[in-house]
């Protein structure tokens, strides 16, 4: 995919997030919207993953450590053809496959069950280590939230991934600066993230998390990195793309009503300003 196509994919992901959370009447639109360009860059231009073969042992893996952004993951998977787009409105329904947080046993294309924050990086690192043991060439990507980095387990895994020189592992931190209780800087300051990850032995890329070209370039540079894992600090805006959600912590875990959803979808239409 070229840059324009990735932008279009990200817009489609955002529309999917709005439709899904509006239909469910709950869910996490803010952190899903901030991650949309990252997911589009991964699934549209970086990962080797064939929707027709979701169990291919050679496929690149993706672990959504910030599992509450499940609507964005489901939307990108649906756009890529892992399951029908129409299923997005089944989000969070009883007997549905689209659980509130990702369930790897239920949905093709979901490589790890996540939702309890702090655990995805260790799972992703384990998957990366498995590639080494089994002699496979796949790469592993994982997406964390900046608020999530308050979890101690993140740093246990960061230490271990560098110790084992997992250069087939790329982490992306969706640094949207907001968490449930307010600004991350006030709730529990995670900065300076670059110095922290560098000190743990990671190669650090500080990028605009809404710029496909910057994301693709950093992901490519991460792929070329040897002997150490890489992390992208993707600077983003929570609620990105929906005017009334942008930079508002209250949209972390609140679904839009029908009227709000209609307005959001209008703003996210292809060709809209």
């Amino acid at each position: 995919m070229n840059e324009l196509e990735i932008k279009a994919l990200a817009r489609a992901v955002r529309r999917g997030v709005i439709r899904a959370t509006a239909a469910a009447g709950s869910g996490h639109p803010g952190g899903s919207l901030s991650a949309a360009d990252i997911l589009a860059a991964l699934y549209g231009g970086t990962m080797r993953a064939d929707p027709a073969r979701p169990d291919d042992p050679e496929r690149d893996r993706f672990v959504l450590s910030k599992g509450h952004a499940a609507p964005a993951l489901y939307a990108v998977l649906a756009e890529r053809g892992y399951f029908p787009r129409s299923e997005l409105t089944e989000l969070r329904r009883v007997d549905g496959r689209l659980q509130g947080h990702p369930d790897m046993l239920k949905i093709p294309g979901v490589d790890a069950s996540t939702g309890s924050l702090g655990q995805g990086l260790a799972i992703a690192a384990g998957l990366a280590l498995a590639a080494r043991v089994t002699g496979r060439a796949y790469r592993v990507y994982t997406l964390l939230g900046d608020g999530e980095t308050a979890e101690g387990m993140v740093w246990e895994a960061a230490m271990a991934a560098a110790h084992y020189r997992l250069d087939n592992l790329t982490a992306i931190v969706d640094v949207n600066g907001l968490q449930i209780d307010g600004p991350t800087a006030k709730v529990m300051n995670s900065e300076p993230l670059d110095a922290k990850w560098a000190a743990f032995g990671w190669r650090v890329f500080d990028v605009d998390g809404h710029d496909p070209a910057a994301l693709l370039a950093a992901l490519a540079a991460a792929r070329r990195t040897r002997e150490q894992p890489a992390v992208l600090l993707a600077r983003t805006i929570k609620g990105k793309g929906v005017s009334f959600m942008e930079n508002r912590a209250e949209w972390h875990g609140k679904a839009p009503n029908a009227e709000q959803a209609a307005q959001a979808l209008a703003e996210l239409a292809d060709g809209a300003a």
Partner: protein
């Protein structure tokens, strides 16, 4: 003289054997490989052994990822850290997605000894038993540990293998058959059924001898497969004997005694006594002294049987 081997030692030896047979087996430890005996595997297969440092939650996350990548990880540390410290990662990252991770937890129970209460897991079976998809095994001797380790490696899905620190007497020979979900009948008896596991199985068998001399015929059932529990065999023997006594090196809350109590209450309510630690922490001391102080002895099992048979209708 009976051979005495710690179950952790038997585990380390069997893991070494399995390593030769199955290249998909990888082993993780959290800086205790000399104590858990995973160092035997580490020496033979360094490319498949990963020391995670003192980071048990991270070890469980790595194990989940390794399993998702098609390998069979055995993750070992002390029971208090494997089941306690890492409980929620084990639940969410391993058990919920039913990943093929084998948690082999050593130094369970009071018999840790001198290290004291902070290191004596008396709740680990309760914690692990409550987690869906988890199989919980508490083998009694070296032979059963080898068979349980092998069974865990061969079966799909998460296992919790509870092992001990001290050398324990050999109870079984090479003819012994172990199966997940089966309660082996080691001794028949019509007056009471004793269900014991782990380090308490040997005292249970000794208690049965003592009781026989007093004219009380005690059956002894091996409760090594705590989950799944062999309810069918348990209910048959509960009905036949009319009284049940459990014995385990664990709190009476949530472990084998609770599993048996739940099954009996629903299927065959008979007088029951649970020998175990009575809702308390342990303390420092020699293992034998601690087991005596906290009532985990053959004498305590025999005493519980005597009281329980009197309550039979």
């Amino acid at each position: 003289m009976t051979e005495h081997i710690a179950t952790r030692e038997a585990y380390g030896q069997e893991l070494l054997a399995l390593g030769a047979e199955n290249p998909r087996i990888v082993v993780l430890d959290a800086d205790l490989s000399g104590s858990t005996r995973t160092n035997l595997f580490a020496r033979a297969y360094p490319e498949r052994f990963f020391n995670m440092g003192i980071a048990e939650q991270d070890m469980m996350g790595f194990a989940a990822g390794l399993a998702a990548g098609g390998l069979i990880p055995f993750a070992s540390t002390f029971a208090i850290f494997a089941a306690g410290r890492a409980l929620e990662p084990v639940r969410n990252s391993i058990a919920y997605p039913r990943l093929n991770v084998k948690i082999a937890a050593t130094h369970a129970g009071l018999s840790v000894g001198e290290d004291g209460a902070s290191h004596q897991a008396l709740e680990d079976v309760a914690w692990m038993r409550a987690v869906p998809n988890m199989t919980v095994l508490v083998p009694a001797d070296a032979t059963e540990t080898r068979l349980a380790t092998r069974a865990a490696a061969a079966a799909a899905g998460p296992f919790y293998l509870r092992l001990g620190r001290p050398a324990v007497p050999a109870l079984f020979d090479s003819n012994y058959r172990f199966a997940v979900g089966r309660m082996n009948v080691l001794r028949e008896g019509r007056d009471v059924a004793i269900v014991a596991n782990g380090l308490m199985l040997a005292p249970a068998l000794r208690a049965a001898e003592t009781l026989a001399a007093e004219g009380i015929a005690a059956a002894v059932l091996n409760g090594s497969s705590v989950k799944p529990l062999d309810a069918e065999t348990l209910l048959v023997w509960a009905a036949r004997a009319g009284a049940v006594v459990t014995a385990e090196e664990h709190s009476v809350i949530g472990g084998l005694g609770s599993a048996v109590a739940e099954t009996l209450a629903e299927g065959c309510p008979v007088p029951l006594a649970r020998v175990g630690v009575r809702d308390s922490f342990g303390e420092s001391g020699k293992p034998e002294a601690l087991l005596a102080k906290y009532g985990l002895t053959a004498e305590a099992v025999a005493a519980a049987v005597r009281e329980t048979v009197l309550r039979k209708k």
